[in-house]
Amino acid sequence: MEQNFDLPEIHTPENLVYTKTKVLTDNVMHYCPGCGHGTTHRLVAEVIDEMGIQGQVIGVAPVGCSVLAYNYFDIDMQEAAHGRAPAVATGIKRVFPDKFVFTYQGDGDLAAIGTGETIHACNRGENITILFINNGIYGMTGGQMAPTTLPGMPTSTSPYGRDVKMMGNPLKITELVAMLPGTYFVTRQAVHTPALVRKAKKAIRMAFENQKLNRGVSFVEIVSNCNSGWKLPPVQAIKWLEENMLPFYPLGDIKVNGEMVSK
């Protein structure tokens, strides 16, 4: 905060309106520049802070790029095995029904290896919040095909593009879980523009507030970019996201207050 930037005359304490959220630690994030994880982490931390529930939250980190999420949130957290976060969260919430419990998972974790845990936690209507970062690729392991990789999209395990005849189709798991009676709030958001960040924060806030109602799972998908995995510079990655990811994964609420949103 004391750094001398290009405009030292306006970088003064009274002009400082944006500071680190207290629910984030001082650890330097390992995420790649331009990745949506950092923004999403901040939004989750802001929501926890604004709701005043820092001492009542237990988070569950996944396996994937956000495996070290527990290094960044200043809350009690558990690290789950790959895909098992919804089961771990179930265990926590069942013994601590009054705490706020959330999972933070990527697409490989939530929609491939953890499909069973995801669907059954949603179907049982566990009173938890699931945050799902979908960037259509396995980021941490180096850009392999994910369950959400788009048709024709190249990855290191689909180097000539995803051939759906051979490799199967991308899974719209968010639409799938919205069909289950145990989900109460299902929405798809993004964080690559300021306006979308504000919308996403509202959705995350609602997903945490809903736990007070005990009506079931609140599920927030964040469509994000993976500049490293997509092998694109940040600006181009965002353009690619808007032109390719969003038509296939359209943004907006899918289920609100237990009711499907009519399109």
């Binding site: 980190a61 809350i75 957290m77 690290e79 265990g91 069942r94 013994v95 601590f96």
Partner: protein
Amino acid sequence: MKELRLMKGNEAIAEAAIRAGADAYFGYPITPQSEVIEYLMAEKPHERTGMVVLQAESEVAAINMVYGAAACGKRVMTSSSSPGISLKQEGLSYIAGAELPCLILNVVRGGPGLGTIQPSQSDYFQATKGGGHGDYRLLVLAPASVQEMYDFVKLAFDLAFKYRNPVMILSDGVIGQMMEKVEIGEQYARLTNEQIDELYPWATTGKKTGQDRRIITSLELDPGRQEKHNLKLQAKYKKMQEEEVRYESLNCEDAEYLLVAFGSSARICQKAMDLGRAQGLKIGLLRPITLYPFPSEVLNDLASKVKGILTVEMNAGQMVEDVRLAVCGKVKVEHYGRFGGMIPSPTEVLQALEQKIIGG
């Protein structure tokens, strides 16, 4: 006044869990142990003590529910039988790595694969050598009666929390299914959340103002720190070896021949020993109660006194390897086993002793 009941081993486990003040059970049905969850569901422990019982969608989910709840400092258990326990190995490795206390019951059936639903002891290696990936150990208790099924539940929880380590009760289809008289113990209260906060500062119960956050993880990417973590685990296992070895010895004082067996095999061996003694053969029986830590020292001592040792197991020869390591070549050690769900008779065991050890 003593409360006595006629119960199946699986039912005794379930009742003991409620009485031990368990907070939660997560499981998935599989023969021959489904009575555990059936009994719990019928008993409505939520009304009796506030204990949570949940049927998970899979063994994998169940063990991960155990992980989540155990990391909150709660007394949590799951139960299964061999193929289901294989599915739980991933979770068990994470639980051991993250140093979480919990109880796992394995009512062993014959394998490999889907195998059979009949009793077996063929999961000895899996239970005592780790089972999942990485260098870790479970503390393993082997009951030989329905009473021990009951008694070992509280013991297992106490040991799990003493060492912050998963404890397995390695039973088998005989003990799980058979009915015996059980003396029911007192009802222990479940710990309050305040007691958990006081007793288990590592538990994720929600970050306290002014205190550091709690992180439950088995991940440490720095090799130096991961090695340090492994050394800490090994030190814990060494302490278990020093403090937790349990066994029962019968007629070992004057024994010339020693039978070594655990669980239901030990019951059969007891009868074989009696038959042999009636014929004038000085047979003793050593029954390991903790399979890990293994009673190596007492076996090594006995090996100096006896002429030969026969291990009897319902498997192709698993514990015999630990017996041989303990005996260190001092005396002949042979194995007799039936497997695939077959149970040896006492006469068969006595014949094996005569052929392989006494006459051999």
